[in-house]
C-alpha cells in the first residue's frame, strides 16, 4: 500500500529549481533512504512533504489523500512526523516536556495529560534516555538531542517518520546505536523515509534508496543497485 506519493513535484525559488519534476512513492512498512550531494534538494523535498513549503506545482498524497497546501500541524495530525537537519528542540524545557508536547498535541484526537506523561516516559525509554528525563534539552549532547527529537516525533504517533540527517555529527559507535534505533522504529510498523550522508548506515538499513541530484531523481533501487550505479558513483566522486 502506498503511504506517500509525489507526482511531478516541483519547487522553484525564483529561477532556481530546487526540486524539479520528482516522482516518488513510499510503500507502507518500508525504510527508504534519500541520498544525493549537498544541494540536491533533499531537505527541500522533506519540507514540501511536511508542509513547511508549498510546491510550485505537483501533488503530494499521503495515505491516498492530497496533502499539498496543508499546514504542518495538520499533516502531523494525519500521521507524518519529522526530525530536522539542525535539531530544533525546545532548549529551555526539559527532555520530558519536549516529548510530552508531541504526545499532547500530535495525535489526531489529542491526549489526556495523564496518559501523555506515561507515553512520554515510555518513549524516553525506547530511545534510551530515561536518565535524562529532567535535564534541560539544551544541555544534552548532540547525539542525545537527536534522540529526543526522534522521541518527540514518535510521540505524535506517526505512520510515516521523516528523518533528516539524523546521523550527522555522530561517532561510529553512535551511528551504530542510531541504526539499531531506526530498525526498532521500523519493527514497530512505522514507515521511515530518511535523508542521510553516512553511506554505511543507509546501505545497511534501507529497503530502497532514492537518489537526487540538482533537484532531479537520477536513480532508485535497492542498496546494491545504487552502490554500483555508475551515475550515482559519478555524482559523488566526479568523472
Amino acid at each position: 500500500m502506498q503511504i506517500l506519493e509525489g507526482r511531478e513535484v516541483k519547487k522553484y525559488f525564483g529561477g532556481l529549481a530546487a526540486v524539479s519534476n520528482v516522482d516518488f512513492h513510499i510503500d507502507q512498512g518500508e525504510i527508504v533512504g534519500l541520498i544525493g550531494p549537498n544541494g540536491a534538494g533533499k531537505t527541500t523535498l522533506f519540507n514540501l512533504m511536511s508542509g513547511s513549503l508549498v510546491p510550485t506545482s505537483g501533488v503530494i498524497r499521503f495515505k491516498g489523500e492530497k496533502i499539498t497546501g496543508l499546514r504542518p500541524h495538520q499533516i502531523c495530525k494525519r500521521g507524518m512526523a519529522r526530525t530536522f537537519q539542525f535539531v530544533k528542540l525546545f532548549g529551555n524545557m526539559t527532555v520530558l516536556e519536549n516529548i510530552l508536547l508531541g504526545s499532547l498535541f500530535g495525535s489526531p484526537t489529542g491526549m489526556h495529560e495523564v496518559n501523555a506523561k506515561r507515553e512520554s516516559l515510555e518513549l524516553l525509554e525506547f530511545v534510551g534516555l530515561s536518565a535524562m528525563e529532567g535535564s534541560l534539552a539544551k544541555d544534552l549532547t548532540v547525539a542525545n538531542q537527536k534522540r529526543v527529537e526522534v522521541a518527540r516525533a514518535l510521540a505524535t504517533k506517526p505512520e510515516l517518520l521523516l528523518l533528516d540527517e539524523v546521523m550527522a555529527g555522530l561517532t561510529p559507535t553512535e551511528v551504530g546505536s542510531a541504526i539499531e534505533l531506526i530498525k526498532k522504529i521500523g519493527s514497530r510498523g512505522i514507515t521511515v523515509f530518511m535523508i542521510e550522508h553516512v553511506m554505511k548506515a543507509i546501505m545497511t538499513v534501507s529497503d530502497r534508496i532514492i537518489v537526487l541530484h540538482h533537484g532531479e531523481k537520477i536513480a532508485e533501487g535497492i542498496p546494491e543497485e545504487i552502490a554500483t550505479n555508475p551515475k550515482v558513483i559519478e555524482i559523488y566522486l566526479g568523472t
Binding site: A81, F84, K88, E97, L101, E113, R152
Partner: protein, 322 residues
C-alpha cells in the same frame, strides 16, 4: 524536614489571605492609599496580561496602549448609556475583537518586525482617533462619567483576580507549555501538531481583553480623557519594563515588578519631585544590568555571586506537567 502542607496549598492560602486583606482594606485606609492601590492594580493587570502572550512566545507586543485606550474610549462614549459592568465587559470584548484582527494581519511577522508593527499600530490608532474626534465629532477630549473610588477599587480588584486566575491556569496547562514551545522553536512546534497561528491569535486576544476592561474602569477615575492620554505609549512600554524588572518568566515576578515600580514611582515623585525621573531611570538601569532575570532572579544571582560564578545556566521558570 517534615512538611505538613504542600507548597501549592500554602501559596493558595497565602494568596487568599492577601486577597481577603485587599477586600476589607478600603474601610480602614485613607483615600490616597486606595487611589495608589488602584494604580498598582492597574499596572499589575497590564503587566500580567501583557506577559500572558509576550512572555512565553517572545513576541514583544508594544500595542498594549491601543487596547487599554480602546477600553477608555468605550467608557467615554458609552459610560452614560450603559451600566458600569456592561461597559467594562464591552471594553474587554472590543479589545478582544480588535486583537484578533491585529493577529490576523501580523501573523507572518517575527521578532523585531512584529514589535515595530504593534507599536506602529498603536500610534496609528491614536492618530486615527484624534483625527476622528477633531474632524467628525468636533471635540478634542471627552468627559467620562465619574465613579467613586471605592467602586473603582472593587471592580479593579475583581478584574485583577480574574486576570491572575486566567494567567495561572493557562500557564500551568498544556497550552502554557505549547506557548513556551512557540517561543523556543515555532517551526518545531508546528510540526508536532500545534496550530501556532490559532494559538498565538487567541492568546494575544485574551491578553488584550483584560487591558480593555481595565481601561474602561480607569477612565472613570480620570474623568477627562483625550487620545494622547488614552493611547499614551507609556502604557505600552511600562508593562514590558515592569515584567523585565520583576522577572518575566513567572507570574509572581510580573506582579512584583509592577507593584514595586508603581510604588517606587509614587514614593520618588513625592520625595524628590524634581529628580524623580532621573532616580527612577537609574534604578531601572541598575536592576536590569545586574539582575537580568529581574527581581525574582535575585536569589539565584546572590547564590551565583557567593559561589564565585557558576557554570550551569539557571533554569528559566516554566510550567511543569502535573
Amino acid at each position: 524536614m517534615r512538611r505538613t502542607i504542600s507548597k501549592k496549598i500554602f501559596y493558595l492560602m497565602l494568596f487568599s489571605l492577601i486577597f481577603i486583606l485587599m477586600v476589607i482594606m478600603p474601610s480602614y485606609v485613607s483615600p490616597y492609599t486606595i487611589i495608589l492601590l488602584n494604580s498598582i492594580f492597574m499596572y499589575i493587570i497590564l503587566t500580567v496580561s501583557w506577559a500572558l502572550f509576550s512572555g512565553p512566545t517572545h513576541y514583544l507586543s508594544l500595542a498594549s496602549a491601543a487596547f487599554f485606550g480602546l477600553g477608555i474610549y468605550v467608557s467615554a462614549i458609552l459610560g452614560d448609556k450603559l451600566p458600569l459592568l456592561v461597559v467594562i465587559g464591552l471594553g474587554g470584548l472590543i479589545s478582544f475583537l480588535l486583537a484578533l484582527l491585529v493577529g490576523l494581519s501580523s501573523l507572518r511577522l517575527r521578532g523585531m518586525y512584529f514589535t515595530i508593527f504593534t507599536f506602529g499600530l498603536s500610534e496609528l490608532i491614536r492618530h486615527s482617533v484624534q483625527w476622528w474626534e477633531v474632524n467628525k465629532t468636533g471635540t478634542v477630549g471627552r468627559w467620562v462619567v465619574a465613579v467613586d473610588h471605592m467602586t473603582v477599587y472593587y471592580v479593579m480588584l475583581g478584574i485583577l483576580l480574574i486576570t491572575l486566575v486566567v494567567a495561572y491556569l493557562i500557564r500551568h496547562s498544556k497550552y502554557g507549555l505549547a506557548l513556551l514551545s512557540i517561543g523556543e522553536s515555532e517551526e518545531a512546534a508546528e510540526h508536532i501538531g500545534i496550530n501556532i497561528n490559532a494559538m498565538k491569535m487567541i492568546t494575544f486576544a485574551i491578553s488584550t481583553f483584560f487591558m480593555g476592561a481595565t481601561g474602561a474602569i480607569m477612565a472613570t477615575r480620570w474623568s477627562y480623557i483625550d487620545p494622547s492620554i488614552a493611547f499614551n505609549p507609556l502604557f505600552s512600554f511600562m508593562p514590558v519594563l515592569m515584567a523585565i524588572f520583576g522577572g518575566v518568566g513567572n507570574i509572581f515576578g510580573q506582579i512584583l515588578g509592577a507593584g514595586v515600580l508603581t510604588l517606587l514611582a509614587d514614593v520618588l515623585l513625592t520625595k524628590f519631585p524634581y529628580y524623580y525621573m532621573l532616580l527612577y531611570g537609574m534604578i531601572l538601569v541598575v536592576v536590569v544590568l545586574f539582575l537580568p532575570k529581574g527581581l525574582t532572579g535575585l536569589k539565584e544571582e546572590v547564590k551565583r555571586w557567593r559561589e564565585g560564578g557558576s557554570v550551569n545556566p539557571v533554569r528559566k521558570d516554566g510550567p511543569r506537567p502535573e
